[in-house]
Symmetry: C2
Subunit: 446 residues, 2 copies
């Protein structure tokens, strides 16, 4: 450690993991530098609601500097990491000076994975960042405005949507889109046969919600079908064109919108490290979440190939990132205490293994219905599950203000079916009508 300054922990990524470790180091004798390409934290579990006009974009974004304005040992750097030199312990950034670290925590998350399917990157709509959620919303609203003046586009699938991926994101987006169509856009566009629009959810595996019990899978499929979503399991997407989706059963569907919820891979930052990667490009970590040859570097959350006690890779959701962040904060504190020769609690340089505690999984299925499963085997579903889902997400949302606004918006939507967030973001009108809009408002997180 260079003399004259405190131990510096650099955290890359202000997602759930990055926030958890930074908060966990509140009382540690360290300086934390939190680096993110955006100046805001994105509450990813609710991105699908932004995409389906249920919430405003700023309801799910929270200024990082605001989160840490009272934590004096944190400095925020809004920058994109362009290179990591593990030997010199130094990060290069796209703005400002390079940044040395004593301990590095990689919490850069995951990005959408096209699995090599042609056309997905060019024409599909992933849902991993705020700008992607707004892109999807813009595109769907724009399709309706287009069809309003060119009704012949109806037969070309202008209002039809294929959602690829039957996990929670796909299921929630399908339910949210159906609600947007029936409750909001049908009254908004009285002259259009909105009910004839198809929303098709395809899942390559045998059932929806593969991480849940069969019972929950069946419930999700039944509820979505009742809402009007066409659920097709055992079918994958093989090719995407601007207005056509090719399915693995040979069908070619006319649909101007493909939502890509098929899966994610670790942030490209993992590749830049030059260390061994696991499935999905995740960084291989030891059982204390540090890198095998670099005990001063940790990886947490979606970018890390952390495993549970059975040796299974942890799911790329919020809980492993939050728990991993807390774990690493504890390890850093222990090491520093041991190095300082302190005795007693935490003053042990040997690291503790990370033990992930499964708190269960939840997915909402349209209005008034959700499934929740807990490790105890307990399950909630239906209206009770939905209320539990609402409450949990309100509690986890950053800050009173966002919570209150989300509560207002949800109550309004629930009572009136009048989603207020259907503001049409800019798109390039000069493009052909069958092309997706290109709107880049927010930086891509990395």
């Amino acid at each position: 450690m260079p003399s004259g300054r405190r131990h510096r922990v650099v955290v890359v990524g202000a997602g759930f993991g990055g926030l958890a470790i930074t908060k966990g180091l509140r009382d540690a004798p360290v300086d934390v530098v939190l680096v993110d390409a955006n100046n805001f934290h994105t509450f990813q579990p609710l991105l699908y609601q932004v995409a389906t006009a249920g919430l405003d974009d700023e309801n799910v974004a929270y200024a990082v500097r605001g989160i840490f304005r009272r934590q004096r040992n944190v400095a925020v750097r809004m920058a994109r990491v362009t290179d990591i030199d593990l030997d010199r312990q130094c990060l290069s950034l796209d703005r400002g000076q390079p940044l040395d670290y004593d301990t590095l925590v990689l919490a850069a998350g995951a990005v959408s994975n096209d699995f090599g399917v042609p056309g997905v990157t060019e024409h599909g709509f992933p849902l991993k960042s705020l700008d992607q959620a707004l892109d999807l919303r813009t595109h769907v609203l724009d399709r309706f405005e287009q069809v309003a003046v060119r009704p012949e586009l109806l037969g070309d699938g202008a209002l039809d949507v294929v959602i690829c991926g039957g996990g929670p994101t796909g299921v929630e987006t399908a339910g949210g889109l159906m609600e947007l169509y029936e409750r909001v856009l049908e009254p908004d566009f009285r002259d259009l046969p909105v009910r004839r629009a198809r929303i098709v959810l395809v899942e390559a595996g045998p059932r929806l919600l593969p991480g849940f019990s069969e019972q929950s899978s069946t419930r999700a499929a039944d509820t979505l079908s009742e809402l009007g979503v066409e659920v097709r399991c055992g079918v994958g997407v093989t090719r995407v064109e601007p207005t056509r989706v090719h399915l693995s059963d040979g069908t070619v569907m006319a649909a101007h919108t493909l939502v890509w919820a098929a899966g994610v891979k670790a942030s490209p930052l993992a590749e830049a490290l030059g260390v061994p990667l696991d499935r999905g490009g995740r960084v291989v970590v030891t059982d204390d979440l540090s890198l095998p040859d670099h005990p001063e570097v940790f990886a947490i959350g979606d970018i890390a190939a952390a495993r549970d006690v059975q040796g299974e890779l942890l799911p790329q959701v919020a809980q492993p990132a939050i728990q991993g962040g807390r774990h690493v904060a504890r390890q850093i504190t222990r090491r520093l205490a041991a190095a300082a020769g302190a005795v007693g609690n935490g003053a042990d340089a040997t690291s503790e293994p990370f033990r992930y505690v499964d708190k269960g999984s939840m997915a909402t299925i349209g209005r008034n219905d959700a499934v929740a499963e807990f490790p105890s085997g307990r399950r909630l579903s239906g209206f009770i599950g939905w209320i539990a889902w609402l409450a949990l997400h309100l509690v986890y949302l950053m800050g009173f203000r966002n919570r209150a606004n989300v509560f207002v918006n949800w109550s309004w939507n629930y009572l009136t079916y009048d989603h207020g967030s259907r503001i049409l973001a800019e798109w390039d009108r000069s493009r052909a009508s069958d092309q997706r809009p290109r709107r880049r408002r927010y930086q891509l997180s990395e």
Copy 2:
């Protein structure tokens, strides 16, 4: 009127005037087509709060289709008007078929007027549309992030702002920016000498708030000075460069931000008509607000050169537009009733002159202070004035949901000084650091 359809009223612009006339025609035997380049109404009096991160962008935008979902005689066309043929009674639009009208109402509003000052259009930040408000917010937040990694920019005026124009918009923006700087950005950027940043309000005339009494002008200048704003009257801006503002007294101020609140001119649509225009490019109208040679064409609000009983041009604010819209709705209804041979109320083909009722003026001056003046001569100021300002704007805001969200945001800001809306929109990082970002999210209204 072509047979087989009802009398068609085409309204261009979904601002205060366009909404007022469309609502006023609710029970009239007409089909209304409301045309706007955006799918939302912008609540312009609060744009300065979006620019200063006090409100979310969607707090001041409301979906037009949502406003009229229960008014059956309204169709909404999201399109830009590209041409108006007054002889054929037909509008050309940038998407979809041309649109015939029986009656046309021009309510296209106003745009920022650079008064020919070099550099204003390229480097200044006007505040007439939602995207402009977001541009200013993005730019100011970006200046702070830039200075955080390049402190040498401080001496170059990176955090300094010149606001040109001492009307309500300039005064409100100055107060809002000062609050943003002191209450939000100073704690966010603890290492920066934010208090040394200059916010300078210049007004070419002898006093601030020229439309108000001298007493209110003095109060505004005093309150802003106490907040730390430098108020300079009798000084204009003569030239704008990316990081320098040239003033009429020969001073060249280092400032990376110029807010242009010096005035407006009528929408460029007025010029396209080929009819006589008044000062500021406003359409000359007769005393019933129709065009001299085209009784079937009305102009209301900022685009119209309407006058009060003293012959003075009406101010380009919300009230003349709202009252003009109601007036024109009544004229159209009367004419149709007379044409249909109805007797009794309203069945008189002779038009009524528009009588503008001045309801007073208000401007907020930072936190806890505002001035309000009424035609009776009654004045409110200080905290009482501020509460009146808050209440009035909440009442006029469209829709319960926006009102509730604005109330939440305002309460939060007031109690915590933690403006939640400081989300940094995308900008092009590849540009030189001294250039303004270019972000176009929303369509320009016209």
